[in-house]
């Protein structure tokens, strides 16, 4: 395994003293310390590490090379962490036919062992977050376990590196070249959740979608701050004491205090049937050519909900309206969520049917209908 090295004859990272090209005065390099790896969402990893380099008085030449590593050489940097006033980096050069080598010319006012920070951006180190949620039988709480898998496809081993992902606390890990390691980031044992049923014809046609809703806050038992996006494998405890897999959802990026909605799929026991029972044009105005220029509409909608469950179903029924409309009659109270969206909140008793109907007039339409189906 070839490694990113400093000052070995295998020529990985060579520190040579002396202005002349000859590699003389090779020094013993201490082990690298304080490795920090920050990986972004595109799996670009910014690696920072600390190494002590012995400089002699006068001009020093430091060679930094990385065979078999996918390092972006524009991002490779060596900076002294101490005694900046006595050290000047005079030049950074790339030798001919060597895209993975940098040669630095460093002038030091006195001989010294100086800690340097080496920084480079590389590909080949990646992360993937995943979650397991286990809901209780009564679906009042869920147990959430967050894990992250770190894969190291570089030729380097990273010992005791501090990994920082786009969000969350850094953690230390040792990861060998070629290895993938999955670790648990945190466990929230009993997050209180609300189960909701939502019928929205645009998002979930013909069905009532089920969600578990909870907040990303300390009251829910989530103290991790923002959560990494990832796949959630959802399980539910069943009557036999075992758990059953009930499907997946994506946990999207959730700021602290915001709501997390985990999709549970459509409720197979709740059928929502939407029908337009009447659609008429009124107050039709025509131009001189006899073409219709404006009209009102009078439309009656019927939403029939069958609850075939053994329990009552609290349900939000959403309807999308557009343009300028006026509600004329409605069987149930509704709430206007925005100019074009209304919601009925209702509970359909077990094994029964509920019908919501409403009549809207669309005003001064020039083309199109009031309601988007």
């Amino acid at each position: 395994m070839r490694k990113l090295l400093v000052g070995t004859l295998a020529a990985a990272f060579v520190l040579a003293a002396g202005w002349a090209a000859a590699r003389i005065g090779l020094v013993t390099i201490p082990a690298r310390q304080d490795i920090r790896i920050k990986i972004d969402r595109n799996n670009n990893a910014l690696v920072q590490e600390r190494r002590g380099i012995t400089l002699k008085q006068g001009m020093n030449r430091i060679e930094f090379s990385w065979p078999n590593m996918k390092i972006d050489f524009n991002t490779a940097q060596l900076l002294p962490l101490e005694q900046q006033e006595t050290i000047s980096i005079l030049s950074v050069a790339v030798p001919p036919n060597a895209s993975n080598t940098l040669i630095l010319e460093v002038e030091s006012q006195k001989p010294n062992l100086v800690p340097f920070r080496i920084t480079y951006l590389t590909s080949g180190i990646s992360w993937k977050a995943s979650y397991i949620s286990i809901a209780d039988m009564d679906e009042k709480t869920i147990h959430l376990e967050a894990s992250v898998a770190i894969s190291n496809d570089t030729v380097e081993d990273y010992h005791n590196a501090a990994f920082a992902l786009p969000v969350g606390k850094p953690f230390r890990q040792f990861i060998q070249s070629g290895e993938t390691k999955k670790i648990v980031l945190f466990t929230a044992p009993a997050i209180p959740v609300t189960k909701t049923y939502l019928s929205d014809p645009l998002e979930y046609p013909d069905a009532a979608a089920m969600h578990y809703v909870f907040k990303n806050d300390a009251a829910s038992g989530l103290k991790e701050g923002m959560l990494l996006p990832g796949r959630v494998r959802q399980f539910k405890k069943d009557a036999t004491g075992s758990v059953a897999f009930v499907g997946e959802d994506v946990l999207r990026f959730v700021p602290v205090g915001d709501e997390i909605r985990l999709y549970q799929g459509p409720a197979r026991d709740i059928e929502v049937e939407r029908r337009i029972m009447k659609r008429e044009q009124k107050a039709v105005k025509r131009n001189k050519k006899g073409q219709i220029v404006s009209y009102d509409t009078d439309e009656t909608y019927r939403i029939a909900i069958h609850n075939r469950k053994l329990s009552d179903a609290p349900l939000i029924v959403r309807a999308h309206l557009s343009n300028y409309w006026e509600m004329k009659e409605h069987s149930d109270p509704y709430e206007r969520k925005d100019a074009g969206t209304i919601e009925f909140e209702t509970t359909v008793p077990s094994r029964s049917e509920k019908e919501i109907s409403f009549r809207v007039e669309g005003k001064n339409l020039q083309n199109g209908y009031v309601l988007n189906e």
Partner: protein, 428 residues
Amino acid sequence: MNRARMRLWAGVCLGALLIVGAAALLWNRPGEAQVQLVTAPGRDAVELTIYESEDLTYAKERRNITLRKGTNLIQFSWAGTQIDPTSVQLTSISDPEKTRVKEAIFPKHLNNAIQWSVESTDGGANVVEVSYFIRGLRWHADYMMFVNSEETLLRLSGRFTLINRSGEDFEDVSARLVVGDIHLVSEKQLQESLRHLGSISSKSAAISGGRVVGRGRSSRQQAEALSEYYMFAVPGKNTLEKGWTKKIEAMDVQDIPLEVVYRYSPNERLVRRMYAFVNNAESRLGKEPLPAGAARVFMVDSKGQVEFVGSNRLEFSPVSKEIKLDLGHELAVTVERKRMDFKKMNLAYNDDGDVSHFDTEEEIRIEARNFRPESVKLELPERIGGQWEMLESSQEYEREDASSILYTIEIKPGETQVVNYRFRRIGR
């Protein structure tokens, strides 16, 4: 039998399998303290939850394992099977408080293997559960239906068919079958979920933190999933050897009240014949939903002679739902539909003298005849588009929506019934 294909080894040392029974061997990982390796015997209880809509099975197996105090390295490998590596989990059942999985490692030098680093406070005998998703196991339901010659009573027999193409033998397993669709996340959806996270710009090598952009709106078009799901437990323990298909009797219910319904299909200009029954207690059903599956229908007369009536797919039927099984065309019930009258009226003209508006009046006559030896119930769906009003109708009808009405009529054997209606359509 290739029972040992999927093994829980404890202790692979430099690629060689550890001898079973050797409880402790030293494993040296560079940079880490030496850890204990343990061996595990074969699996004890296996539970399979097999899904219908996806090629997916959730498998759980229990193993008795002896742990050393401290860190143990446990290896699980699955060559030749279709296990999803991201799904493999180890959990302690007997002592979860004192047994902690520190990390899971997918080593470079091993294919299809995972190693768990397990910290045990006390050590000793432990029951662990290994769970994973595996592909290649499928199930479906199918039905045999027997009706009496009067077509008033139905006997419904259901079977489960289990197919094992997973590459693995499963002996003495408890199987559970899940009805319906399950929502799974695609790689694309996962990528989209990362959109709002910051990225390191390669130009500046600057580190940008996670920015709060707000939640993305999800699209659910392809999302079809289960949660208030139904699981059928296959009775007893079953052995599912690889490559085999197994049929298991699931239900057999007699004397289900049956109704025969006929429905006119305007596109085909033919009548279709359907068996209707309800999945409820009055029908001696209603304990659970019926999974979708092929249904083959036979008629059994009083002498026990059997005749094939037809076959179709029975759709998923929740409790209390009326099931209508379409048995195909019925030529002994005929429908003739005609437009008897058409009038264009209330014409309006624009300044250029062109027609700008008109209304129409239409009269429709539907003549239905029953050549069958018994009375039939016939449904006649009619579509009337646009804005319209009914002027006259010979029978009552049900308005299904703005442009659909339904007549339901009874016709005695050998008789003819006529439906007549007249409507006005308002032009634009």
